[in-house]
Subunit: 109 residues, 2 copies
DNA sequence: ACCCTTTATCGTAAAAATACGATAAAGGGT
DNA sequence: ACCCTTTATCGTATTTTTACGATAAAGGGT
């Protein structure tokens, strides 16, 4: 099996989500009415440079976007990749379900 | 912010999914009518011990389960954590949507 | 009882992720 | 023009992940 690009894509997204600090950051970004700013740092008990690094990971995975606004940078969530992620998981689930179905059909109790 | 257990949980699941080989393994498990066996190895171009290790990661995250069947071990997908994962992502999405809504309401163009 | 297959685990090396402080670049305010 | 705030990036140490071969344990077949 030569790694499916879909697998790479799904892995890229999940890997980016695969750290509690990054999940917390995302949750924080949603909960702010003003979906912005690097004062994320003030609420997450990590050094500023570390937070910046986590933001970069999320950014490179496409899960968030940056809008430079003067000396401050505002981050906001990108909906699309989340939908894509859900779709990827759904596909695994539905594949599983149809396979299970088939199996039951061919092996009636 | 003291790491929310929900964040830990979501991170645990996504981290387990966060490797192309593991996504491929999961996909393989779904596509097998007989959702079983460690002949996963034969189709994934990784050493047997490496595959076993990846299976262990998936196992420990609860994404799959093992059924010992004689000398062979059969693995199958657990639906529940996938649903949980989807729910976690959905929550982030819906939080984001409601926040965006609120913002629009208070700042009419 | 013997061997052979299957597969988890151990030991280990190499690569990647994580965290930090320090520094630099970029803008705002006065 | 100056300084001060904000924040990305650099350098680096530590930990974790990833991959492999070798070994061991467990069962099936004859």
């Amino acid at each position: 099996m030569r790694s499916d690009p879909r697998d790479e894509e799904l892995a890229k997204l999940t890997r980016a989500l695969g750290h509690p600090a990054r999940v917390a950051i995302l949750r924080y970004l949603t909960q702010q009415k003003t979906p912005c700013c690097g004062d994320v740092t003030t609420c997450i008990d990590l050094a500023q440079s570390t937070v910046s690094q986590h933001l970069k990971v999320l950014l490179e995975a496409g899960l968030i976007e940056r809008k430079g606004q003067g000396t401050k940078n505002c981050y906001s969530i990108c909906v699309e990749p989340f939908e894509q992620l859900k779709a990827g998981i759904d596909q695994i689930l539905s594949d599983h379900r149809t396979a299970t179905q088939k199996q039951k059909a061919s092996t009636p109790s």
